[in-house]
């Protein structure tokens, strides 16, 4: 059972399959109601979501548009998929596009990072009255998946890595009013970021003897009776789970990153996080929604780096798209290749996108691009997605969607992406839950958008 559940909570989750309801702490029954109107496809066991925080420029990456000022070393040439591809920026990713569906007819509702990130991570508009109680997609997945957790699970169902610091990026959305067992395990895989779960070999024995001592030494945890504050027991429960995770030999395998592998993934914090995501999926330990965040895509200025001198390696150090793509490219390509090789790609949905696109046309006066909601693009692979396809097209500037190429015949919005994720995991995206502090129902994906009824639904064309 996932370690943070005490016996009492286990009973609650055990009750889900019987009554269809789950007790959220202090808020009464959730009164879950699936509408049965949709049939989720259940083609994936886990989702790895690469969150390109800041909003990547669509016309310099996945939906390439040539301009007079486009640097030569972007090495743009035709790709077998029938698109122009910047082989200078994303050489390795070009090689795994055969596994991917490239979607160019996506759009966003928001132009501000915090609102856009909220929409991306939750699948709902930021609503001041409800924002605090709304669970993120990861927590909804955790909630659904914990009900089917296996005794062998040793990882939390929702993991988030490397969400960039700084208010401007927006925040990592957590579990809202859902139970704390659906909260993300947040890890920071950065230079200087220590992984407290990694037990060094030469420390193993001493750690064991320290824990032995602590168990009988700490009388403050052993107090019995209803008079003892529940926080004491909660702390004890978390400690025991932490201990189990640290001492699990499988966990060491997840966080122990071999240098050769690291280099293949690009020797970066982002690459390391992608490796850990791969390891988590490989371990079958129960991680179901793994959010890997990469900041720095908000290229208002110097989108092509601070200088156009030097080799590609030099330019990767100088910022702009070269840096971001320099990190993303080897990590994404290696992740896809490794999941393919291990046979896990079939049941692992990988999504790659940011919260909005960027302004088309000439660059700004500080050589960048600003926020653009009308066009956004993303990659989907694995989890049943049929690779080697392109969905949608935009005009020659990358300003407007010209072809939707999916059955709703409108831009693909965050709601639809969210429905796709839930569907892939076998979750009914029309499900409604009660028990929220505001008294309002929480619907996993709403049919209503900021502009009216859109009939949110999964992007079934990805899987066809």
């Amino acid at each position: 059972m996932f370690p943070t559940l005490t016996r009492r909570k286990f009973w609650q989750y055990g009750a889900v399959s019987v009554t269809g309801g789950v007790l959220a702490p202090g808020t009464g029954r959730l009164n879950a109601a699936a509408t049965g109107k949709v049939t989720p496809r259940g083609s994936a066991d886990a989702v790895i979501f690469l969150n390109l925080v800041g909003g990547p420029s669509q016309m310099d990456t996945f939906d390439f548009k040539q301009y007079k000022f486009t640097p030569e070393d972007l090495a743009v040439k035709a790709h077998p998929l029938g698109i122009q591809w910047p082989h200078g920026l994303l050489p390795k990713t070009a090689g795994i596009l055969k596994h991917a569906a490239l979607v160019r007819s996506m759009a966003a509702w928001e132009t501000l990072h915090n609102l856009g990130q909220f929409y991306l991570q939750v699948g709902h508009a930021f609503n001041a009255a409800r924002a605090k109680e709304m669970p993120s997609i990861g927590s909804v997945v955790a909630h659904e998946m914990l009900a089917k957790a296996k005794a062998s699970d040793f990882l939390p169902p929702f993991v988030s890595m490397n969400f960039p610091a700084g208010a401007v990026n927006g925040t990592l959305i957590r579990e809202g009013y859902f139970d704390s067992s659906t909260a993300p395990l947040t890890l920071d895989v950065r230079k200087g970021g220590n992984m407290p779960f990694l037990l060094k070999d030469d420390y193993r024995d001493r750690f064991a003897s320290r824990l032995d001592f602590l168990r009988s030494f700490d009388s403050s945890r052993q107090l019995e009776g209803s008079g003892v504050n529940k926080l004491v027991r909660e702390w004890d429960s978390f400690s025991k789970s932490a201990e189990r995770m640290i001492r699990s030999p499988k966990v060491a395998g997840i966080f122990d990153l071999k240098e050769a592998d690291r280099q293949r993934y690009g020797s970066s914090a982002f690459g390391d996080a992608c490796m850990i995501a791969r390891n988590m999926v490989d371990s079958g330990g129960g991680a179901r929604f793994i959010l890997v965040n990469q900041g720095g895509w908000d290229h208002h200025g110097d989108i092509y780096g601070k200088s156009n001198k030097g080799t590609m390696e030099d330019r990767r150090a100088r910022g702009g798209l070269y840096s971001n793509c320099g990190e993303l490219d080897p990590a994404l390509a290696s992740l896809a290749a490794d999941l393919e090789a291990s046979g896990k790609l079939e049941r692992t949905l990988v999504c790659v996108m940011g919260e909005f696109g960027r302004t088309p046309g000439p660059l700004t006066d500080i050589q960048g691009r600003d926020h653009w909601p009308n066009v956004r693009c993303g990659l989907f692979l694995g989890g049943g997605v049929k690779g080697g396809k392109v969905i949608g097209a935009t005009d020659d500037q990358g300003a407007k969607i010209t072809k939707f190429e999916w059955h709703k015949n409108r831009p693909i919005y965050p709601e639809d992406v969210t429905a796709t994720i839930y569907s892939a995991l076998g979750i009914d995206w029309t499900k409604k839950l009660g028990g929220a502090p505001s008294g309002r129902e929480f619907i996993y994906v709403e049919d209503m958008s900021p502009t009216g009824f859109i009939g949110s639904t999964e992007i079934r064309e990805l899987f066809a």
């Binding site: 370690p3 943070t4 132009t111 501000l112 915090n114 609503n127 001041a128 009255a129 605090k132 610091a165 700084g166 208010a167 401007v168 925040t171 704390s180 909260a183 395990l185 947040t186 890890l187 920071d188 230079k191 200087g192 970021g193 220590n194 407290p196 779960f197 037990l199 420390y203 001493r206 750690f207 320290r210 824990l211 001592f213 602590l214 009988s216 030494f217 700490d218 009388s219 403050s220 945890r221 107090l223 009776g225 209803s226 008079g227 504050n229 926080l231 004491v232 702390w235 004890d236 978390f238 400690s239 789970s241 932490a242 201990e243 995770m245 640290i246 600003d370 926020h371 505001s438 008294g439």
Partner: protein
């Protein structure tokens, strides 16, 4: 006094007013709290022991552990009234005439409450260098013990050419809403709305956000009787007090702001960036709690009049005392503190069933508010009154059967986790190994992270610590920090490099010093430095046993174990 005595009493057939004899009533708080418990037959915990009280009040008021010397002196002291005397030592001395230039760091009480207000006012990257000027302003206001109503009026009415130099102007600038590209264009009306919503929330404890997008009617009947009666236009009329308030970036793209009163007024026609479109309504300023209109008296513009009306209204004192009560007692008399339902405050006019009067102790709340006003809105007086009371000084250990209903009687003291800052500073003090941190953008160094203007101060220089502090609930202040427990926290106490390195014997650290003493002294001192008390017999035996096997290694293991005890990280 304590657990064993109480249990003995219980076994002897004495009725379990759990503390043995009923607690003495030291002030108005005790009168109300204990008489309500007596009336309802609710037993209460015993009075906390000297060690429990000392640890708790020192952390609560200063964010720091008491030193072993302080604990020894206090427990040995037999003077009556020593607890009250100790409380006074936690407040830094007020500046006196001719004091000259002050040292930068006067007392941990100031850092602890500067951090509290920094979190409350969301002093963060949205202000960039304004973070430092805002923090220093708050610190100074606390140092001078400026009356809280003056402090609030000062911030609401502050103007300046630059928020980077005019500290209090950051309060207003923080609430601006940007439009367009998010850098250079302000949305004046949305900003005015935010200012109305936040000042009403923070200083009156009333949340207008619920009816800022739609009228209360048809939505809030199950949430708040008062809010269900309010309309969107009520928010706009409250916002109109800021109708002339101008907030704009000085250089167009950087968060440095100019604040003044040069706008034309609240314009309904402006398109909102964050909410549904506004509709035609009367938007002449009107104070939401009593409908007071702007009377255009000379020498007082709308913003200034709003500040005066707000701080003069009785709800200001009530909300403030309730906020500090919640902070020190773990739960508000009205809980949560920013959720007052104004239709449920008066026991003489109770709401219709099944609604109940909202404050758990309405007479206490009013009396405490009145006392606060009478004492010139003095925060130190308020805190002193709370922590001097026996209600505050009850133990958090309750012998016997606890019923959840007892929470609202404050029948035992709440247990909480140390805040992220408290936790790290406690680890530094316990191990005697401190780091040096630098304030961002200034040539100023500090030793305790509670002294930071904002946690970004040490993000670049101490990334590993910063990451761990985020796991412990520090945030970017867009949302308030949390003290929720987690598995990652437990794992970091057990296995994070930063902890493992500090429990080692190191030059200048506490362990190195203690190894020069005998084992009993070493064990005593380690306990005092961590859980703020001496070991009991069993703990002493186990600790001495650990040391006897391998002295240095055993001492390291003992320190590790102490930091991993629940009663280290929890404040009880």
């Amino acid at each position: 006094m304590g657990l064993l005595q109480t249990l003995a009493a219980a076994l002897a057939g004495v009725p379990l007013l759990a503390g043995g004899p009923a607690a003495a009533r030291k002030n108005l708080i005790d009168e109300f709290i204990f008489s309500k418990m007596e009336k309802s037959g609710v037993p209460h915990a015993p009075i906390a022991s000297d060690e429990e009280f000392l640890r708790r009040v020192t952390l609560d008021l200063t964010g720091r552990l008491p030193s072993p010397e302080t604990i020894r002196a206090f427990t040995a002291d037999k003077t009556p009234g020593k607890r009250d005397a100790y409380i006074e030592t936690l407040f830094p001395k007020l500046p006196t005439m001719g004091i000259g230039r002050r040292p930068t760091r006067v007392g941990p009480y100031l850092d602890r409450w500067s951090t509290f207000f920094g979190d409350m006012f969301r002093n963060n990257e949205q202000l960039r260098e304004g973070i430092n000027s805002f923090h220093d302003y708050i610190y100074k206001a606390l140092e001078l013990n400026i009356p809280y109503d003056e402090f609030v009026r000062d911030m609401i009415t502050a103007s300046g050419v630059s928020t980077w130099t005019t500290g209090p102007a950051n309060f207003v600038a923080r609430h601006r809403i940007m439009a367009g590209d998010g850098y250079s264009e302000m949305n004046h009306e949305d900003t005015a709305d935010e200012l109305a919503i936040w000042t009403t929330r923070l200083f009156l404890g009333v949340d207008m956000e619920c009816f800022s997008c739609h009228d209360g009617k048809g939505h809030l009947e199950k949430v708040s009787l008062w809010a269900a009666r309010q309309k969107r236009a009520d928010v706009w009329r409250q916002a109109a007090w800021f109708g002339k308030t101008y907030v704009a970036p000085v250089y167009g793209r950087i968060p440095e702001f100019r604040v003044n009163d040069s706008e034309k007024g609240y314009n309904l026609k402006t398109k909102s960036v964050v909410r549904l479109p506004r509709y035609p309504a009367d938007v002449a300023p009107a104070f939401i709690l009593n409908g007071a209109r702007y009377d255009a008296r000379p020498g007082e513009n709308e913003r200034e009049q709003y500040a005066r009306l707000l701080t003069a209204h009785p709800q200001f004192a009530r909300a403030t005392v309730n906020l500090f009560w919640a902070e020190l007692m773990g739960r508000g008399i009205v809980d949560p503190p920013f959720g007052f339902d104004m239709d449920r405050q008066d026991p003489a006019n109770p709401p219709p069933a099944p609604w109940t009067v909202q404050p758990s102790h309405p007479e206490l709340l009013n009396a405490l508010a009145e006392d606060f006003r009478k004492h010139g809105h003095d925060l130190r007086h308020l805190m002193r009154t709370i922590v001097q009371s026996n209600a505050y000084q009850l133990s958090s250990y309750f012998p016997g059967d606890w019923k959840p209903a007892y929470d609202t009687y404050f029948a035992r003291h709440a247990t909480r986790r140390m805040s992220a800052e408290e936790f790290w500073d406690a680890v530094q003090d316990a191990t005697g190994i401190h780091d040096s941190y630098k304030v961002k953008d200034l040539d100023r160094k500090f030793k305790y992270i509670m002294e930071a203007s904002f946690n970004q101060d040490f993000a670049a220089s101490h990334p590993s610590l910063w990451n761990m502090m985020q796991d412990w609930g520090q945030t970017d202040r867009e949302d308030p920090p949390t003290d929720r427990a987690s598995m990652v926290q437990a794992a970091s106490l057990m296995n994070h490099e930063l902890i493992l390195n500090r429990v080692k014997v190191a030059k200048g650290g506490r362990l190195e010093k203690l190894l020069a003493k005998d084992n009993d002294a070493l064990v005593d001192e380690l306990f005092l430095a961590t859980v703020s008390r001496k070991p009991n017999e069993r703990e002493r035996a186990m600790s001495l046993d650990l040391l006897s096997k391998q002295r240095e290694r055993g001492a390291e293991d003992l320190l590790w174990a102490l930091l991993n005890r629940a009663d280290f990280i929890l404040v009880q």
